[in-house]
């Protein structure tokens, strides 16, 4: 085999490798950056503009002329004494304060039961994940049927209670809130279970064995080895659920439409109703901006935690 002669005439492009990769890098990320600009950055600027006016789609003027209805910060001041907004915000926080801990404890309990291998583990694991994958609106409808006064929930209760039970779940403010919370816990406990189990399985097996050999009981091992090593993962799981739960709309709206009255009206349902029914889009833009700002603070904290865990899991 003759050696191919080395053609060492300098190739036309100087250092084409470095420049080529930077150029390729730019083109690769361009579509994503355009999309983000097109639907996030530009709309938020538009929203700030509208939030300083009393504009509404019914006024017959295009949005860029909204400055004719300039009311500077009136929307923001109105917001302060809009008690329906604050009660919706409070209710969302209440729902979160109940849902997230329930989902966490149920998920952690299940995850602990699933750590060791046992016959049927893979099948039961898949079955437990089903609720999380059901379309939230459909889940809402499922629970709407379940909580009908003649529905199966009452039937089960009367079976246990011995006497017929006909609780009007969806028409009583407190019971309705309880019903929607049950549907949220039902749908999202599997997410907690999934993440916490991944965290539990990630705890190094030999450290647990070392602790056992040093005479530590199961509870001591759990408190001194498992929980400390899972701290970051627990924070991530909670952060995800807090953020997702804050956005909840689908199953709540399908089950109760935010009712009876405003009993189950979360912040998303409130904004939706004000947008669709009262059509005062200037004011709604202001409300939305307040939410965006508070949430970006929370998300900055969640991102810091997630990138920190990525270092530890690297």
């Amino acid at each position: 085999m003759t050696a191919a002669a080395i053609d060492t005439s300098p190739t036309p492009i100087e250092h084409e490798d470095v420049r080529d990769s930077r150029k390729l890098g730019f083109w690769l990320t361009l579509p994503a950056q355009l999309l983000v600009l097109f639907i996030a950055v530009f709309p938020i600027l538009m929203q700030v503009y509208i939030s300083l006016t009393d504009w509404s789609p019914l006024d017959g003027i295009d949005w860029w002329q909204a400055h004719q209805l300039w009311n500077s910060f009136a929307n923001y001041t109105d917001l302060l004494d809009d008690d329906r907004f604050w009660s919706a915000l409070g209710r969302t926080a209440l729902v979160m304060a109940i849902c997230v801990p329930c989902e966490f404890l149920l998920g952690l309990g299940l995850a602990i039961l699933f750590v060791d291998n046992f016959p049927g583990r893979r099948f039961l694991y898949s079955v437990l994940l089903v609720p999380m994958m059901v379309v939230p609106a459909v889940a809402g409808y499922m629970f709407f049927m379940l909580f009908q006064s003649g529905g199966p929930v009452n039937d089960l209760l009367s079976f246990f209670a011995g006497s017929p039970v006909r609780i009007a779940w969806l028409s009583d403010p407190n019971l309705a809130l309880f019903a929607v919370i049950v549907s949220d816990v039902w749908q999202w406990t599997p997410l907690m279970f999934l993440i916490l189990l991944a965290g539990l399985v990630g705890v190094p097996e030999d450290q647990l064995r070392a602790a056992t050999l040093l005479g530590a009981s199961w509870t001591t091992r759990f408190v001194t080895i498992v929980l400390p090593r899972m701290k970051t993962i627990i924070i991530i799981a909670l952060a995800i659920r807090v953020i997702e739960n804050f956005k909840v709309f689908d199953n709540f709206y399908i089950m109760t439409g935010g009712g009876p009255g405003v009993a189950t009206e979360t912040i998303s349902i409130y904004i939706y109703k004000v947008t669709q029914q009262e059509l005062i889009w200037g004011y709604v833009a202001a409300v939305a901006l307040v939410i965006l700002i508070t949430l970006s603070i929370v998300s900055a904290y969640a991102i810091k935690r997630m990138s920190q865990s990525r270092e530890t899991s690297q």
Partner: protein, 286 residues
């Protein structure tokens, strides 16, 4: 570690009871989907957990046949909404995957994209309602309201962060030397991406695409805002499924719910080992 017998019994009892509880809602809807109209709103004593005489009438009714008991057939059948859900979810997934995957490769290999990663996480964290008003205005202005492609574009953008972060962790896991080995043979960077990296990533691309599809298929709020009559998706159409005569069409709605619920459940179980990675933006790998 082998555990004592009582613990094993407790384990099975706890797991099986929770599994039973978690299956009741889904099974109830499935049974309702096959109940004839007579058994739809049976209450109290004659409430039946399993249809006495199962029938496919509900499904036929959905697709335009007027079943004998129901007085009026549906003026708009479920066909169009199912098509709308499919088209918007599939094309939304395409948009998300194409823009997300190329941006992920750009960031993973060349560090380009600046503050894009952070922006993408924040995009995912904001409630849709908080950004929908300007989008509704723009879509009305561009004539995209009540069109499946208008919906697909929003779905693409909203789920692009998941595609981006999922693919970025897969690209990071891939050893750089495999690309170097191709570069040394004279491949240009783009050809390496096309001929080596992407083919290697086929399983990762598939599971990421399925994950994004499930998210798009499961939307209700965005469709509620951006579609009105012709191109409503399944969840929006389902809410409107009631006639003045008989009120809630329980059986029909349950049948439609079943049709909507089955695909994501099957796809989700198919990619369950990547779910953790997807849901935590790659912070946690199974």
């Amino acid at each position: 570690m082998n555990r004592s017998l009582p613990f094993e019994i407790f384990r099975y009892a706890a797991i099986l009871s929770l599994v039973a509880l978690s299956l009741i809602p889904t099974l109830w809807m499935a049974s309702m989907a096959f109940k004839p109209i007579a058994e739809w709103s049976a209450t109290g004593a004659d409430l039946t957990w399993w249809p006495n005489s199962p029938t496919l009438d509900n499904f036929r009714f959905l697709f335009g046949q007027s079943s004998s008991e129901l007085i009026v057939a549906l003026d708009r059948t479920a066909g169009q909404p199912i098509l709308s859900s499919l088209l918007s979810a599939v094309f939304g997934t395409l948009i998300a995957m194409i823009s997300g995957t190329s941006a992920a490769y750009g960031l993973s290999r060349f560090g380009s994209g600046g503050n894009l990663p952070l922006a993408l996480i924040q995009l995912r964290i904001f409630p849709p309602m908080a950004v929908m008003i300007p989008v509704m205005i723009m879509w009305a202005y561009l004539g995209l309201i009540d069109t499946w492609y208008g919906l697909a574009l929003v779905y693409g953008i909203v789920t692009m962060p998941f595609a981006f972060w999922l693919m970025k962790t897969f690209f990071d896991d891939m050893p750089r030397e495999i690309e170097d080995a191709a570069l040394v043979e004279g491949c240009s960077r783009l050809r390496v991406f096309w001929k080596i990296t992407l083919p290697m990533m086929r399983p990762a691309l598939a599971s990421s695409a399925l994950f994004v599809f499930i998210l798009n298929w499961s939307d209700y709020l965005i469709a509620l805002l951006l579609t009105t009559r012709d191109w409503v998706t399944i969840p929006v159409y389902m809410a409107s499924l009631s006639s003045s005569m008989t009120g809630q069409l329980y059986g029909a709605k349950a049948a439609l719910g079943l049709i909507a619920a089955v695909p994501p459940v099957i796809l989700g179980i198919a990619i369950q080992k990547h779910l953790v990675r997807g849901l935590t933006f790659g912070a946690l790998k199974q």
